[in-house]
């Protein structure tokens, strides 16, 4: 079994290396190699899934990696239901996107480099999925950040792209710093970085982390905050749209940003420790890190949804939608509903990837125009794109019986049970989600063509359309597959057996939640229809200009951050200048010089050249010596 896991992990890496070394000049081969590698990993993942069968997990041996002092790290593979689920999603959706890219990126001079980077990313992401200890996870965490950097900045000649990839990496790093602190804290208290050992340790003694229980959980969350773009580290995700659309689909919709949620689910045992706080954080007593996570998730969801309402770039709308849905998932984790979070992660991977790829198809047809107010009436020109896009939107909004409905239902259900306020936030976000998504559909696909490009658009080539169709299948049906019961097997009595009971399950299980969810969809849809059907300009922008402007400008977070950074930077630079000039230059260098010179000058006074002075000093010396030695 370890061999299988190792193969799954390493085939994409070899593909990346091979492409980089040998097939740089041969775009066709590069694409083939990369697609083949991803397909191979997918097939092997299917085999692992089959092997796992009904078992909860398979035990695997790890390889001893490094042993430094008290730190013992092994390279291990976790094969349980959670990791198998992630494997299938990463390799499956990844495969679709690989195929899509072969059509989308055709003609680009960096074609081979793109596929090498995609394979590298696949390798890194799979590493996170397999990681059996914090150290390994952190290494692959950083690798994923690096791959993201390479892919966002793929068109690096564009200054905006270069800035965006830097921003992504740096923001990620800030989160990773907190993550690293959390890891070190856990290791220093518990002496191990292995998930298994730490989980067992905390299970037997929930108070083992002492006064640092809450802090450890919070710090580990920082990593998820960076990677999954939660407030306040959310600023990098919209800018990451500077990368090619397949990149946005793969990394910033389906997999990388989901890594944060996966990580939190994997290390959830940290949050089962008793949340005490150290003395200097005494005001936090009574607050659990899960509370903080839940609120941050909810806040991010709401903030992103509000911003998305007034965005005019098709990819930006989808980016903020991703942010919002990530907020949902994190909120679910915060309310101890990790199953709901993973369920939503899986369905979101399908329909969000489909949405991005569909938007890529639209952008491709519009010759890389991304402003939605330049599009229109694309429904007839690009039917396949339209229909798959519509299905994905319905899923995202949470329309029964599509996949999104089921996962959103679970999230809202856990919210209702733990924190009614967050439930309200969740419902509000559902309204806004439906609203801005249908705004997008009405403006892009309906009404009339608003520009030359829109008038001349046509359907995309098969390499791009095929993945859309393939992805539409899970978008429609994933709700019926029982992903949540796969993760956490439900007792026999509750297990729905036939199709009808599965379809009706949410209504019988928690009718209130389902009703609220569907009601939100209806409300949002009618708002969007009223405001945006057959319109040629943005009505909302005219009725509430300052609110609209705030939303369009992302609530000025970027400006705030850049001001903060400039301020810190300037003051640090001033301080460094002062130290360098006055302390090092003045005190140390000139001080040494001056002291030596002064000493010389003083000592020179003793050289009078006068014989009697010397004799006098001689006598004094002798007297003193005699006095001291023979007293």
């Amino acid at each position: 079994m370890e061999i299988l896991a190792l193969l799954i992990l390493l085939i994409p890496l070899f593909a990346a290396a091979f492409i980089t070394l040998f097939t740089r000049r041969n775009p066709g081969s590069s694409a083939l190699i990369s697609i083949f590698a991803c397909a191979a990993s997918f097939l092997l993942s299917l085999i692992v899934y089959a092997r796992l069968g009904d078992a909860q997990a398979i035990e695997t041996e790890g390889i001893k990696w490094l042993s430094v002092g008290a730190l013992n790290v092994e390279l291990g593979f976790i094969i349980d239901r959670l990791s198998v689920l992630m494997l299938l999603i990463v390799t499956g959706v990844g495969l679709m996107i690989h195929i899509y890219s072969s059509g989308y990126m055709k003609g680009d001079p960096g074609y081979s480099r793109f596929f090498a980077s995609l394979s590298l990313f696949t390798f890194s992401m799979l590493g996170i999925v397999f990681a059996s200890n914090f150290f390994q996870m952190f290494v692959f965490w950083e690798l994923v950040g690096l791959s993201s950097y390479l892919l966002i900045g793929f068109w690096f000649e564009k200054p905006s792209a270069a800035d965006a990839c830097k921003k992504a990496f740096i923001t990620n790093r800030i989160g990773d710093f907190g993550f690293l602190l959390g890891i070190i804290l856990l290791w220093s208290i518990l002496g191990s970085v292995q998930f298994r050992e730490i989980a067992a340790n905390i299970k037997t003694n929930p108070g083992v982390l002492g006064s640092l229980g809450g802090l450890a959980g919070l710090l580990v969350f920082f990593g998820a905050m960076g990677k999954s773009a939660q407030f306040p580290l959310h600023v990098w995700l919209p800018d990451a749209m500077e990368g090619p659309t397949p990149v946005s689909a793969l990394i910033h919709a389906a997999t990388m940003v989901a890594a944060g949620v996966y990580m939190l689910t994997r290390v959830f045992f940290v949050y089962t420790a008793v949340p005490h706080w150290p003395n200097w954080l005494a005001f936090m007593e009574g607050v659990s890190p899960l509370n903080i996570i839940g609120w941050i998730g909810g806040f991010t969801a709401l903030l992103a949804a509000l911003i998305a309402v007034q965005q005019n770039d098709i990819k930006r709308i989808l980016a903020y939608s991703t942010l919002s849905q990530l907020g949902y998932m994190i909120m679910a984790v915060g309310m101890a509903g990790t199953t709901a979070a993973m369920y939503h992660l899986s369905t979101h991977a399908f329909f969000k990837a489909l949405l991005f790829l569909g938007s890529g198809s639209v952008i491709h047809a519009m010759h890389h125009e991304q402003d939605i107010w330049q599009m229109g009436a694309l429904k007839k020109k690009m039917p396949v794109t339209f229909w798959t896009f519509l299905f994905a939107t319905l899923a995202l909004s949470g329309v029964w019986p599509l996949s999104g409905f089921y996962s959103k239902d679970e999230v809202l259900y856990s919210a209702l049970n733990s924190n009614p306020v967050l439930f309200g936030v969740g419902v509000l976000v559902a309204v806004l989600t439906t609203f801005y998504m249908f705004r997008l559909i009405f403006v892009v696909f309906y009404s009339s063509a608003r520009s030359e490009g829109a008038a001349h658009a046509h359907e995309s080539p098969p390499a791009m359309v095929l993945p859309l169709v393939v992805l539409a299948i899970p978008t429609l049906l994933a709700g019926l597959w029982g992903i949540d019961s796969y993760l956490v097997p439900a007792p026999e009595s509750e297990h729905a057996r036939d199709l009808f009971s599965v379809l009706a399950a949410p209504f019988s299980h928690a009718p209130l939640v389902a009703i609220f969810g569907l009601g939100a969809v209806l409300f949002g849809f009618s708002l969007a229809y009223g405001l945006y059907y057959n319109q040629s300009r943005d009505v909302l922008a005219e009725t509430a200009p300052w609110l609209s402007r705030a939303m369009r400008n992302r609530f000025y977070f970027d400006e705030l951050y850049s001001w903060l950074i400039a301020l810190t930077h300037e003051n640090l630079a001033r301080l460094a200048n002062a130290i360098d000039r006055w302390i090092i230059g003045g005190l140390v260098v000139k001080g040494v010089h001056g002291t030596t010179e002064l000493a010389g000058r003083v000592l020179r006074l003793a050289q009078t050249g006068n014989l009697q002075t010397y004799a006098f000093i001689l006598v004094l010396g002798i007297t003193v010596l005699l006095f001291v030695f023979f007293r």
């Binding site: 009697q612 006098f616 006598v619 004094l620 002798i622 007297t623 005699l626 006095f627 023979f630």
Partner: protein, 166 residues
Amino acid sequence: MAPQDIAFYIFSALTLLCGIIVITKRDPVTAAMFLVLSIVCLAGLFVLLQAFFLAAVQVLVYAGAVMVLFLFVIMLLDLKDEVRRRIRLVRGVLGLISVAAFAAVILHLIWKAKPGATLGTPALVGGTAPLGKLLFQNFILPFEILSLLLLVAMIGVILLSKRDLK
């Protein structure tokens, strides 16, 4: 008080007095004369210490040859009286204090250690014969080296007093 003690006091007082005069007189010739007198008194002290040969040598060599040489040079240089330069009181006082301290320390050491307490006054006859025997038996090497020294000194003096050294 034995006559030796009286003689001791007289001679030592004279020596010290002449010493003071030597260091205070401005005229070098007068100073030299009083130095001669001091040396002669010292010879007297030597006699009291029963070092007869040394007393004689002291008078003959030191007073007779060395001081005469001194006077020769003084006359040769034909110095005017030391022109009164600005009196440096500070220097005088400082010198006095430091020397006084030095003397105090040494005297204190002498009188604390009292080296003579354990010694008697044996009846020693320090004649010439035992001295000569010691000189030519135990100290023959330094004796010869000393003659070499004198030779070197002679040559040095001749060289140094040449008018211009080519």
